[in-house]
């Protein structure tokens, strides 16, 4: 009658299927790219370029092989960086009762937040050396204020629960309260947010390229390729379609996997054969 089967959900399978190819290309691509061949005329096909040439006449397939790693690394590093700042700040702010400390932690980010992110990006990009590291920093910086607020909003609710009070009575370490409990309680929100943020990071890289900041306009980078290839959309669609599809598959797959892993985790602690059968008094509030 009851009993929940534990086979991988369709979501997980779909997610895994989606990210396999892009990840594989991103990780191993640069090893297979080889030496650049002679350039052709931009946005043409044939002549040994099976995906045609890009806007400067380079082989699109070779660019695709080269361009994944920076995308994946920049987006991942930027997201991790953003959370490296946001988690401690947000958690401390949520867990403290000292108003001044909370203000001290939150208000500076509000100042950054109130500067239009685009303006911030333009200006910081002009100040920093363009390049992968600088770009990751900028993307992280633009993301931190949001992330801090989301973390704090989620953490404040969890931090006001009696379970935290009980941990305080036990003299529990800040670390255990913040990470072990509060962080754990907001995992779903965080994961949803992280997935979106990861995608957003990729997207920022691309938009930065559109606005001409942060990355070299001819960088081997899927996001940049989408921007640069769009002028040739009608002449040589592969130059934009292939990297675009790879990005979409990568981010969609990542997010689906996030969703799926969370779905299984909560199913484990839930009572009732379905979400709706949870009895009162047994689940967390």
């Amino acid at each position: 009658m009851k009993g929940s089967a534990r086979r991988p959900s369709g979501q997980a399978v779909l997610g895994a299927a989606l990210i396999t190819l892009p990840l594989l290309l991103a990780v191993t691509g640069p090893w297979f790219a080889g030496e650049p061949g002679p350039r052709g005329v931009s946005f043409t096909s044939g002549e040994g370029h099976w995906l045609g040439t890009d806007f400067t006449g380079r082989d699109v397939w070779r660019q695709v092989l080269l361009g994944g790693r920076s995308v994946v690394v920049t987006a991942a590093v930027a997201t991790v960086l953003a959370y490296l700042v946001a988690l401690p700040v947000g958690l401390v702010a949520a867990l403290t009762h000292r108003a001044w400390l909370e203000e001290f932690l939150m208000r500076p980010w509000d100042v950054v937040l109130a500067v239009p992110s685009l303006l911030l990006m333009l200006m910081v990009a002009a100040l920093l050396e363009p390049g992968a590291a600088g770009l990751a920093l900028i993307v992280a910086l633009v993301n931190v204020p949001d992330a801090v607020r989301i973390v704090r909003a989620g953490a404040a609710e969890a931090a006001s629960r009696p379970a935290v009070e009980a941990m305080r009575m036990q003299g529990e370490s800040w670390w255990r309260m913040a990470v072990g409990y509060v962080g754990r309680s907001m995992l779903r929100t965080l994961a949803a947010d992280a997935g979106v943020r990861l995608t957003g990071a990729l997207y920022l890289v691309a938009t930065a390229a559109f606005l001409g900041v942060g990355v070299a306009p001819d960088a081997a980078d899927w996001a940049v390729m989408v921007d640069q290839g769009r002028t040739g959309l009608f002449v040589q669609p592969w130059a934009v379609v292939v990297p675009a599809v790879l990005i979409v598959a990568l981010t969609t797959g990542t997010n689906l996997l996030f969703d799926a892993s969370l779905a299984r985790r909560t199913r484990g602690t839930r009572r009732g054969k379905e979400a709706r059968d949870v009895p009162a008094g047994r689940t967390r509030r």
Partner: protein
């Protein structure tokens, strides 16, 4: 002076011009900072608008020679340092005649030491204090030195004639010009609406109305054109042009030789202070690949000289070809036998710059030269590369070869990015300007260009097309006028079929 340019008879000039209608033209603009003060002209959009509302004394034909406009003719004295300019019988939009006083006022305004108008440098040879109006329609310009190419000054970018007394912003809120169209309404950063001026000296335009609209994004301009929201789109991407070439939805017009593309080598510092290294670099460049890659094929290859096809261009100098063998030998002779590393400055300040740098890096590698590409800040690129670095991407819009030399290649030139400072070269230029005889002058120009071709600092690898598209029914758009010349963006000769 010379005859009227081939003018607006260009492609599709079949049938008789039809009067009437409104044409909307999309340009990249300058945002809310735009004004109608023609002396503040800075962008293509500014120039096109100024051209519709105002006139210069002269303008450049397709070969960059000065053609009379408001000036009917000009006469130098023997020593080429006093020029008498006779004005046409032209009228301002309010019906008053254009006078010599207006001309002097305009030039004095431009030259005002408290202002920083762009054309000021071009007017520098004129001694305005000593110049005067001989009568209503005659101006006598006294120059500080002999200047055979003085008409170039009259055609200089931004040297428009405004009404005597017109000075502050208020006067240009609803400007009164002498151009083919008169002002109707203007919103900075959005649109300028003008209508036919029936009293125009060169014959009233065919169009009833003309609207300049601003669309900074290239895709927006072509989309607006395809969607029937404008009839003329300025400055399109080569790829866009290729996509629509031969189609029936829009007509693509390529304005050849509109922008020089190249690299500047600083001739006063290592390694480019050695002419063998400069020559080696000339030989390294695969110009076709650069044009195909950085300009998407929309252009022609260059021969390390500015102004292909312009007046005085030394077209008889043979085209330089890639020769890695010789390049390597020259480098070896110059002491770089075991490799040379050079930093190449570039920046996304202009389309194709970063790509060109990258392509050249690959080409140089084949000759054993390591190029490190440094991508600089777009906003300060030009002033950054003027004095520092050794090798940088560059480009130049259209100007007469004479201007190119005087602005960039003389010891005291303001923007001498190649640091080309040679007394004998300066002397050649001075000599040319004091030579009234045209063929002699041409010979002098050729000497200068030969010198530059063998050991100059400009590696000119190509000339980019300027691409304009129109709706199929638009007629009379000149097809051989490089950007910034008389027939470029000239709407008084355009009509709607």
């Amino acid at each position: 002076g010379g005859p009227e340019g081939k003018g607006a008879a260009g492609g599709g000039g079949d049938g008789k011009p039809r009067r009437g209608g409104k044409l909307r033209a999309a340009f990249a603009g300058g945002g809310a900072n735009e004004t109608l003060d023609p002396h503040l002209t800075n962008l293509f959009a500014d120039a096109a608008r100024a051209k519709a509302l105002f006139d210069k004394l002269a303008d450049f034909g397709s070969d960059m020679s000065a053609r009379p406009r408001l000036a009917e003719r000009w006469e130098p004295n023997k020593t080429l340092d006093r020029w008498t300019v006779t004005l046409r019988e032209a009228k301002w939009h309010d019906g008053k005649p254009v006078t010599a006083e207006d001309v002097l006022h305009s030039y004095r305004r431009i030259a005002d030491p408290d202002r920083a108008f762009r054309a000021k440098a071009s007017l520098e040879p004129i001694d305005l204090d000593d110049s005067r109006a001989r009568d209503e329609r005659t101006v006598e310009f006294r120059l500080k030195r002999p200047y055979a190419e003085f008409p170039n000054v009259l055609a200089a970018f931004g040297a428009y004639i405004v009404r005597a007394g017109a000075d502050d912003a208020g006067d240009f809120g609803e400007p009164v010009g002498s151009g083919p169209f008169r002002h109707v309404s203007f919103t900075p950063g959005r649109s300028l609406l003008v209508k036919r001026f029936d009293g125009y000296w060169d014959g009233a335009p065919h169009l009833d109305e003309l609207e300049f609209t601003v669309a900074d994004e290239e895709s927006a301009r072509i989309n607006a054109l395809l969607g029937g929201q404008v009839e003329y789109a300025h400055e399109l991407n080569p790829t866009t042009a290729r996509a629509h070439d031969g189609g029936d939805r829009v007509r693509i017009v390529r304005l050849r030789n509109s922008a020089m593309q190249g690299f500047v080598m600083k001739t006063d510092r290592a390694p480019f202070d050695d002419r063998r290294v400069r020559e080696a670099f000339f030989l390294i460049a695969d110009r076709r690949e650069l044009v195909d890659g950085a300009l998407s094929g929309a252009g022609e290859i260059g021969n390390d000289l500015f102004g292909k096809g312009y007046r005085y261009y030394a077209g008889n100098i043979p085209q330089r070809k890639r020769d890695l063998e010789r390049a390597r030998r020259l480098l070896r002779e110059a002491g770089h036998g075991d490799g040379l590393t050079v930093t190449l400055d570039t920046s996304p300040v202009a389309t194709g710059f970063v790509e060109a740098a990258e392509i050249f890096r690959e080409q140089a590698a084949e000759a054993g030269v390591t190029i490190e590409v440094r991508v600089g800040n777009a906003d300060t690129y030009w002033s950054d590369t003027l004095d520092s670095g050794v090798l940088a991407c560059t480009r130049s819009g259209t100007m007469p070869i004479e201007s190119h030399i005087s602005q960039r290649l003389l010891t005291d030139s303001p923007t001498n990015a190649t640091k080309w400072r040679h007394k004998d070269f300066d002397e050649l230029y001075r000599q040319a300007q004091s030579t009234a005889e045209e063929s002699e002058r041409t010979a002098l120009y050729e000497r200068m260009q030969r010198r530059l071709h063998t050991e100059g600092g400009f590696l000119v690898w190509g000339f980019a097309d300027w691409i304009v598209a129109t709706a199929p029914g638009v007629r009379g758009v000149a097809e051989d006028a490089p950007a910034n010349t008389l027939d470029w963006a000239r709407f008084d000769r355009v009509w709607l079929a």
